[in-house]
Amino acid sequence: MTTLAVRSGGTRQLTGTTTLLRFALRRDRLMIPVWTGVNALMVLSMPGTLEGLYGTPAERAGLIRQMETNSSLRAMVGPVFGDSLGALTAWRVGVYAGVLAAVLGLLVVVRHTRDEEESGRQELIASGMVGRRASLTAALLTAAVANGALALLLTAGLAGQGVTGAFALGAGIAGVGMVFATTAAIVAQLTESARLARGLTAAVLGAAFVLRAAGDSATDDGSSVLTWLSPLGWLENLRPYAGERWWVLALPAASVLLQGTAAYVLAGRRDIGMSFLPTRPGPATGRLGSAGALAWRLQRGGVLGWGIGFFLAGVVYGGMTESVADLVGDNDNARRVIERMGGRSGLTDAFLASMAGMLGLVAALYIVASVLRLHGEETSGRAEPVLANAVGRLRWAAGHLVIAFGGAALIMLLAGLGLAVGHGRQTGPVLAACLVQLPAVWVIGGVTVLLHGMLPRAATAAWGVAGAVLLLGWVGPALDVPQAVLDLSPFGHLPKLPGGTMAWGPVGTLTALAAALVAAGLTGLRRRDLST
């Protein structure tokens, strides 16, 4: 009996899954709750915000009319299917919550599969009493726990708007999360590197977003084939709070089943650590000759990716500018919020200013990631042999910092060019609007340098700083956060361009502050022990 079970695969393949699942949840005890919590909060705060913006039936009717006629806005957020607060919430943030759930799903799955194999940790795990399918199963179950929790939070939190719709929205969003978790499970079998697996899965997610956007700009009811091809389109076609079409849930379910099966089949056909897309050999001799060249080689891919992303985002936002001005022109509250975010001149200017500000906030994430490369190099032990050569610490750090601070300027310039291309006018002012964000971005970079130099163990707290600034910038204006709190963010002190007047005072002060932070951080780096 036992022998038979082993021979035919049987349950032995899953031995140890429970232990591994508990272990994975323990390792993710911070990431999953925080990510899921923020995602849920974003959705749950929407009914209140929307009530303020579209309080009267007339305003909602105006919004729906606008969405029916405006294809570029539909491309951004999708069509509206109903005028209840629940339906508007699903319309406004459903797709984005789905994207967030998908990113968490792919991060969790890759982290517990390919990452483990690449680092060699999996070898030790697999040598224990662990079935051949246990690790993949545990990773998928971890993603299922995260998405299940999200669905529960959303169902409970939105119950006030109607339980049925709340459940549909929660299930739809969690479904998107699981679809991409299983996509990641497949990709993790294909690539040898976890980073590549994450990148490829994210590219699939990006493609899904583009498909849905294209489909939604073509039709106003989500009926385009392109929309139906995208898992994000399934979410909107489920129509939470607007006559739920339950059968649509069969699509993510079938997709999870199919992709999961494929992942198991692929996993069963390869050896541990191996992949279906093998690594190509590199050159036998190298041309890298300095710490700066090494830093560029390590970061150029990242700079390229961020640059392309920022340019495309700029083009998309720029293209939307006129239609958004039309849309919010009808709505007093929306106009007030946009004006508060972006200054009080014409709505087009206000929209451009708020988009430039948003891109600036995202650029803060770039600069933190780029500066923290120093931290990664140091803690991984790769910095030690480099610094044992004739390379001073300052030169080593400078190589990465030039890319971090210069790269931030480059991606903001590209964003500005994109905005100008998409908008088709005002090239100079639009570029200025993007570049004026830089001093604030640099301050965030300076804080990161300071943390790395003075408190290397707390260097990753820079992510918290960037996250807090991002939250203040995005949610602060809509939530009537007191000015004193908004002033804590360097972005709050920037002039609102285009439309506002250029204020050199704060720009100069922030730049000087950033320089001082960098200098202090580098002084600390020069004096302290290298972490090993």
Binding site: G286, G289, E384, L387, V391
Partner: protein, 298 residues
Amino acid sequence: MTKAITVSGLHKSFGRTHALDGLDLEVASGEVHGFLGPNGAGKSTAIRVLLGLLRADSGAARVLGRDPWSDAVEVHRRIAYVPGDVTLWRNLSGGEVIDLYGRLRGGLDPRRRAELVERFELDPTKKGRTYSKGNRQKVALVAAFASDVDLLILDEPTSGLDPLMEEVFQRCVAEERDRGRTVLLSSHILSEVEELCDRVSIIRKGRTVESGSLADLRHLTRTSVVAELAGPPNGLAGLPGVHDLDVRGRRVRLQVDTDRLDGVLRSLTASGVRSLTSTPPTLEELFLRHYQDEAAVR
């Protein structure tokens, strides 16, 4: 003879842990110096101080006549370092890393590089993430041996190498010595140390407990003697430095402090010697004595 490395009274603490507790070390120019001690004795900490990666709390250190902390870059121009656990960039090939390290030092001899790649049987086109542990070590070793430097600092450099490669490594170190370069070799492989090192320093709990040539150190330990005598042994038990005496008829086994060997031999020849085996102390015994001392102290 000039000194490549001089260290005296070096202290370094991490919180409450005293990693270095008054370490002394002298490495003469042109010698291969073995740096030994049990795990956690402070060898890697000492090496990181010598590389200016850590700052000593107190004490003096000079490397190639300069301060390793304040003149780090100048010192490093003439140093090649191989850590015990080499981490590579996942997407750079081994060849790229070798050339990068060479350029970041005093330069690289391309002919020697090619020769070393061949001798170590390294495939320089593989990407960092695909190398095994031993092959990652080879990348750092080739970079170090091909570099044009005066001092090599090797921290357990052969972990993960197979015995054939271990031999290649030993020949490379010998060649470096023949060229007049100085080598500081931290190692647990005693045969390697015995084969290569002119002098050794043994450290324990962050302090130097023994330093000198292998011949010197051997004198500090015991030689074992087994002899078949013509007549009954006489007065062996009373001789100074004799331990574990075991007499069975005319067969004698004993341990003797190596510097007291002379007296024992006199006494044996007085009785007439039929056969004699004298085993010099092995390095293992030497180290075990020091390592076990530590266990005893605990």
